[in-house]
Symmetry: C2
Subunit: 238 residues, 2 copies
């Protein structure tokens, strides 16, 4: 009986411990402690446990929630900007590198390193951040999570003005990368056709003689940018 | 004065008309008629009007909302499935082809054709559907939109069981496509390395001697599937 009480107390204090560590980082005391602990379990940490003991499902949910919160935030913040601008701004915010940075600024590495056996990778940080958003959503629902993310994360850790002006010229990023790495790049117009009575262009990005990606748009410059964006993603340059 | 009243009545009746046509399709009478009309404006329909007279911003918002609703629906429906399964199921549901089919089943083509000058393309249907979800969200907020989408759209127009078993073997899809189109395809293991103390593989899909995409995973088969999925997207095969 004594042992049971001791184990029970240890279990309780461990949970209290997690809650205490999370509070200053996330700004509130979570009710569903097990859920919030789950957000920090990377699959590499428990090779032998069943699949559901990892933060990947929560990450899947959190990734979607975060993406929508950011979409709505931008939709309202920029009532006169077109969809292309909104899409670019969102991808600047939700891209892996930015999420890793936010997670780092929040101090999630402290929590994560307690559960981790090996070395922390930066992507584990961003993943844990998304999983945390998933846990917050399950705890509070959409509206409260939205307010929480906007006030306590976006406004606190992101410089939106700075992101606006950040380079989103994917063609020039790609040209620069090719020059650095001694690759030969060219943009080829594959076809010109009519869509909804307007001229439309299909272009390809060719690197060292290999067609890497194609894209279509109503003007050649945009098609080149879109195709470049695909290649930037494929080559994982950003 | 008479003219003003006539114009006013015409304007009113037009709005009433839109509401009347929308009601049987979306299942409720929208309050913000202008917003719901906007959901059906394709940018090709108004070359001369300002940019905001198109459904693209609403489509951006609706795409995010829909994606999150589907993510949450799957997260709850399949409590024991891993993130890979959830991601695949979601992409089967929110991919262009499925959205175009849903929009067609809903009868959005009837509304869309009234605003369209040229021929309706199937992607205009899917886009209008997403824009409509954006409008529903602005009208009702997240919770009501979620219930609406699940009950009136997902449960009504999708056979989830059928989607589960639908082919998601991207490697075999790619092999089949290459055979049909006389292309030579091979899967090349570029490197094997350690990640979190586990073996990790980087593989490339090579078509007619061109490296099309690469992917990494803890086993070769998954890496090949992931790389194939990228190529399927690049080549727009599905």
């Amino acid at each position: 009986m004594d042992l049971i009480i001791r184990l029970f107390n240890r279990y309780l204090s461990k949970d209290r411990d997690v809650a205490n560590r999370l509070r200053p980082i996330i700004g509130f005391t979570p009710r569903r402690i097990q859920l919030f602990k789950m957000a920090f379990y990377h699959r590499s940490m428990n090779n032998d446990s069943p699949k559901k003991m990892s933060n990947e499902r929560l990450e899947f949910l959190g990734d979607a929630i975060l993406s929508t919160i950011v979409a709505e935030y931008l939709f309202k913040k920029y009532p006169n900007k077109d969809e292309g601008f909104l899409t670019k701004m969102r991808s600047k915010i939700v891209k892996r590198q930015t999420l890793n940075e936010i997670a780092d600024k929040m101090g999630l590495d402290v929590i994560l390193s307690e559960y981790s056996l090996g070395k922390l990778s930066s992507s584990m940080l961003g993943n844990a951040f998304e999983a945390l958003i998933g846990a917050v959503y399950i705890e509070f629902g959409y509206e409260k999570t939205k307010n929480y993310v906007i006030k306590n994360i976006l406004m606190k850790y992101l410089d939106i003005k700075d992101l606006e002006s950040k380079d989103d010229n994917h063609k020039s990023q790609l040209l620069e990368w090719c020059q650095k790495n001694g690759k030969e790049i060219s943009f080829v117009t594959l076809s010109k056709f009519k869509l909804d009575k307007r001229d439309c262009f299909k272009v390809a990005v060719v690197i060292d003689g290999k067609e890497m990606a194609t894209a279509e748009d109503f003007n050649k410059k945009s098609a080149e940018q879109n195709a470049s964006l695909k290649v930037v993603a494929i080559l994982d340059i950003l």
